[in-house]
C-alpha cells in the first residue's frame, strides 16, 4: 500500500516538511502551526484557567502569604513583637489588654502578650494540623477508595459500609474521645482529625475511579497484559487525582476549623502555645470590652478557611471535575 496516498493531506505536508523533503511552502497548514507551539499538558491548561479566576487567585495568594509567614516568623516576629508565649510579669499590668496601636497592631491580651504575634504563631498550628491531618485522611482515603472501586464486590461493600459507619459518628465528639484515649498533644490532634477524615475522601475517590474505569484506555491497558498495580498507578490514578486535589484543598480548611474548635474546647494544643482556637477561648470573656482579643484570631480563621475554599472551587473549575458525594 502506498502510505502517502491514504494519509490526510496536511499530514503529508507536515511530514515532508519535517524530513526536509519537498516542502509545500505555499499553504501554511493549521497542523504545522500547531507543531510550532510548545506542548501543553492538561495540567498546564488547568493552570491557565486557574490564573484567570480572580477569587481563586486571591485565595492562593493569601495561602502562600500565610505559609511564608508561618515558615519565617521565627526570624522576625519576636524581635518586632516580642515572644508569643512568654509573660513579662514585671510589666504585665501596664501591657495587659492594650487596644490596637502602632506598637501592637492587634493590641495585647490579658497577660500582656502581643495578639498579632500570637496570631502569626497560631498559623503554624493551624496550617500544620490542616495539611498533615488532610494528608493522613487523603492517604487512607485513596487506598480505601481505590480498593473499593477497583476490586468492587465484597471489598466495595465492606469499605463503603465502614465509611458510612464512620460518617454516622458525631464527628467532633469522636475526635474528642480519640484525643482523650491517645492523650492530649498537637500530634494526636492531627492524627485524630486525619483518621476520621478518610471516609469522605474515599467516597470521592471511589466515584472518580468508577467513572475513569469505564474508559477504553483502562481496557486497552488490560488487553496489553498490564498488572493491576500498573493500571491503577499509570492510568486510573493520574486521571482521577484531580478530584482529590480539589477535595483535599477544601478539606484543609475543614481540618483548620476542627482544630480551632478542639482548642477552643481545651482539647487541642496546650497553653501557652498559641492557637487561634485557644485565643478565641481566652478572648471571649472580654468580648464586650476588648473585642480585638477575639476578633483577630477569628478573622484569621475565617480568611484562611475561605482562602482554601476559594482555591478549591477554582481548582474544580480549572480541572473540570464533577464533585460527587462531597
Amino acid at each position: 500500500m502506498d502510505k502517502n496516498t491514504d494519509m490526510p493531506i496536511y499530514a503529508v505536508d507536515e511530514k515532508s516538511g519535517a524530513q526536509g523533503g519537498p516542502v509545500n511552502q505555499g499553504s501554511p497548514e493549521p497542523e504545522t502551526t500547531a507543531a510550532a507551539k510548545p506542548t501543553r499538558t492538561l495540567w498546564s491548561d488547568a493552570w491557565g484557567r486557574l490564573r484567570k479566576n480572580k477569587l481563586a487567585m486571591i485565595g492562593a495568594i493569601w495561602i502562600i502569604f500565610i505559609v511564608i509567614v508561618a515558615l519565617t516568623c521565627d526570624l522576625w516576629a519576636p524581635q518586632w513583637l516580642g515572644s508569643p508565649t512568654q509573660i513579662d510579669s514585671s510589666q504585665m499590668s501596664e501591657l495587659s489588654k492594650l487596644p490596637p496601636s502602632a506598637e501592637h497592631p492587634f493590641g495585647t491580651d490579658a497577660l500582656g502578650r502581643d495578639v498579632l504575634c500570637r496570631v502569626i504563631y497560631g498559623s503554624r498550628i493551624s496550617l500544620s494540623v490542616g495539611i498533615l491531618a488532610t494528608a493522613i485522611s487523603t492517604v487512607i482515603g485513596l487506598v480505601m477508595g481505590a480498593l473499593a472501586a477497583y476490586y468492587g464486590g465484597i471489598w466495595d461493600t465492606i469499605i463503603m459500609r465502614l465509611a458510612d459507619i464512620f460518617l454516622a459518628f458525631p464527628y467532633t465528639l469522636f475526635v474528642i474521645v480519640l484525643i482523650a484515649v491517645l492523650g492530649q498533644s498537637i500530634t494526636n490532634v492531627f492524627i485524630a482529625i486525619g483518621l476520621l477524615g478518610w471516609p469522605s475522601i474515599a467516597r470521592v475517590f471511589r466515584s472518580a475511579i468508577l467513572s475513569v474505569k469505564e474508559n477504553d484506555y483502562v481496557d486497552a491497558a488490560r488487553a496489553m497484559g498490564a498488572s493491576d498495580a500498573r493500571i491503577v498507578i499509570r492510568h486510573i490514578f493520574p486521571n482521577s487525582v484531580a478530584s482529590i486535589v480539589v477535595y483535599a484543598t477544601m478539606n484543609i480548611g475543614g481540618a483548620i476549623l476542627t482544630e480551632s474548635a478542639l482548642s477552643y474546647l481545651g482539647m487541642g494544643v496546650t497553653p501557652p502555645t498559641p492557637s487561634w482556637g485557644i485565643m478565641i477561648e481566652d478572648g471571649q470573656t472580654y468580648l464586650a470590652t476588648q473585642p480585638w482579643l477575639m476578633l483577630f484570631p477569628g478573622l484569621a480563621i475565617i480568611t484562611t478557611v475561605l482562602a482554601f475554599t476559594l482555591l478549591g472551587d477554582g481548582l474544580r473549575d480549572a480541572l473540570d471535575v464533577k464533585m460527587k458525594d462531597a
Binding site: M1, D216, Y217
Partner: protein, 366 residues
C-alpha cells in the same frame, strides 16, 4: 521480527501441539485455526453489581456461538447494536470472562487461563477500540502510549532503542515521528485511531480484534484507516477479527463474514458468497438495506423492511431468536433453535428455511 513468523510457520507451530478440540477445524489448505471459538456464551448476571436491584433476570448477550479464524485472514463479525458482537470480542480477549464455551488461541484455551498465561497470550493478541478519544490515556504522550506494551512485556528495555522503534511505528501508521511527545488531545480522531493501531502493532501480534475501529470516524477518514489496516496485515500477516455494524465496511476488508443477531450467529460465509447469495432472511434484509449507488437499481430492487425492534436479550425469544421479526417464520421457528449448518461449501446458515436470495415475494414488505 514478525516477518519471519508469518502465517505458515505459525500454523505449523499450532499443528505440532494441536489439542483434540481442534480436530476437524482445518481450512482448505489444511491449516489449523489461529483462533477457534467453540460454543462461546456470555450471560451477564444481574444479581451482582451496582444496578442489581433494578433487574431480576440474566442478560444473554452471547449464546453458543462458534467460529474459526485462520492465520492471516480477516474475519468480519457484523450485527446491529446490542447483538453481542463487541461482547464476543471482549470475551475472546478475556476483558470479560465468558460464562460458557471454549476459546482456543494458538491451541490453548483462553477461557480458563490463569493470569500469568493471560499475559503471554496478550502478547500475541491485541485490541483496537472503537472510540479513539476514550481509548488513549489523556495524561500520557503518544510515545508513552505506544511504548507501553513493550514495557509491559519487557521488550526493548533500552529506552533509546524503544523510542526509535516507536518513531518507526508512527511513521508506519502515517503519523509524524516528531510528534512522539504530544498528547492525544492534540490529534484528530483519525490520527488518534492511527495511534491506537500503532499501539496494537507494537508487539507484532498474530491476531488483532478490531472493535468497530472506524465507526467513530468521518467517512472520508474511514477508508484511509481501513487501507492502513489492510496494508499492515499484508506486511505482517496479522489476522483480524473485524467487528462492525456497517456491511460496506466489512465487505471492504474481510475474507469471511459472520452475521450475528441477538447473541446468535445467523450466517457465516466468505464475503463474496454472502453478499451475492445470502441464505438467511436476516442477512437478506440487512443487504437489502445497503444503498446502491445506481438510482435505477436502487429503485427497482426490493427492500425487506423488518418490523419492530430487536427483542430484549434479557428475555430472548424461544427457538430461533429471529422468528419474531422474520418474514418467513413458521411454527417450528418458535420451538426449535436452528443449527448452524453447511448449506453450501464453506457457507453456514442457521435457519430452518435457508434458501438463496431472493426469498418468496409474498413475504416481502415493500
Amino acid at each position: 521480527m514478525a516477518d519471519e513468523k508469518n502465517a505458515p510457520t505459525k500454523a505449523d507451530d499450532a499443528a505440532a501441539s494441536v489439542p483434540s478440540d481442534l480436530e476437524g477445524h482445518v481450512d482448505a489448505q489444511g491449516r489449523y485455526p489461529l483462533l477457534s471459538v467453540q460454543h462461546l456464551s456470555k450471560e451477564f448476571p444481574v444479581d451482582s453489581g451496582v444496578f442489581a436491584s433494578k433487574m431480576s433476570k440474566r442478560v444473554s448477550a452471547v449464546d453458543d456461538i462458534s467460529f474459526d479464524i485462520f492465520p492471516g485472514e480477516t474475519f468480519g463479525l457484523v450485527g446491529e447494536s446490542g447483538c453481542g458482537k463487541s461482547t464476543t470480542g471482549r470475551c475472546i480477549m478475556r476483558l470479560t470472562n465468558p460464562t460458557g464455551g471454549k476459546v482456543f488461541f494458538n491451541g490453548e484455551n483462553v477461557a480458563d487461563m490463569k493470569k500469568k498465561d493471560l499475559k503471554s497470550m496478550r502478547h500475541d493478541m491485541q485490541f483496537i477500540f472503537q472510540d479513539p478519544y476514550a481509548s488513549l490515556n489523556p495524561r500520557m504522550t503518544i510515545g508513552e502510549i505506544i511504548s507501553e506494551p513493550l514495557i509491559i512485556h519487557g521488550e526493548m528495555t533500552d529506552k533509546k532503542e524503544r523510542l526509535d522503534f516507536v518513531r518507526e511505528l508512527l511513521d508506519e501508521v502515517g503519523l509524524n515521528p516528531e510528534h512522539i511527545n504530544r498528547y492525544p488531545h492534540e490529534f484528530s480522531g483519525g490520527q488518534r485511531q492511527r495511534v491506537g493501531i500503532a499501539r496494537a502493532f507494537a508487539l507484532r501480534p498474530k491476531l488483532i480484534i478490531c472493535d468497530e475501529p472506524v465507526s467513530a470516524l468521518d467517512v472520508s477518514i474511514q477508508a484511509q484507516v481501513l487501507n492502513l489496516l489492510s496494508g499492515l496485515q499484508e506486511q505482517y500477516g496479522t489476522a483480524y477479527l473485524f467487528i462492525a455494524h456497517d456491511l460496506s465496511v466489512v465487505q471492504h476488508i474481510s475474507n469471511r463474514v459472520a452475521v450475528m443477531y441477538l447473541g446468535n450467529l445467523m450466517e457465516l460465509s466468505d464475503w463474496k458468497t454472502l453478499y451475492a447469495q445470502p441464505y438467511h432472511p436476516y442477512t437478506q434484509s440487512l443487504l437489502s438495506a445497503v444503498p446502491v449507488p445506481d438510482p435505477d437499481v436502487q429503485r427497482s430492487r426490493k427492500r425487506i423492511i423488518l418490523a419492530g425492534d430487536p427483542p430484549s436479550p434479557i428475555d430472548p425469544p424461544t427457538g430461533c431468536r429471529f422468528h419474531t421479526r422474520c418474514p418467513i417464520a413458521k411454527e417450528i421457528c418458535s420451538k426449535e433453535r436452528p443449527e448452524l449448518k453447511e448449506v453450501a461449501p464453506g457457507h453456514f446458515c442457521a435457519c430452518h428455511f435457508a434458501a438463496p436470495f431472493p426469498i418468496k415475494e409474498s413475504s416481502i414488505n415493500l
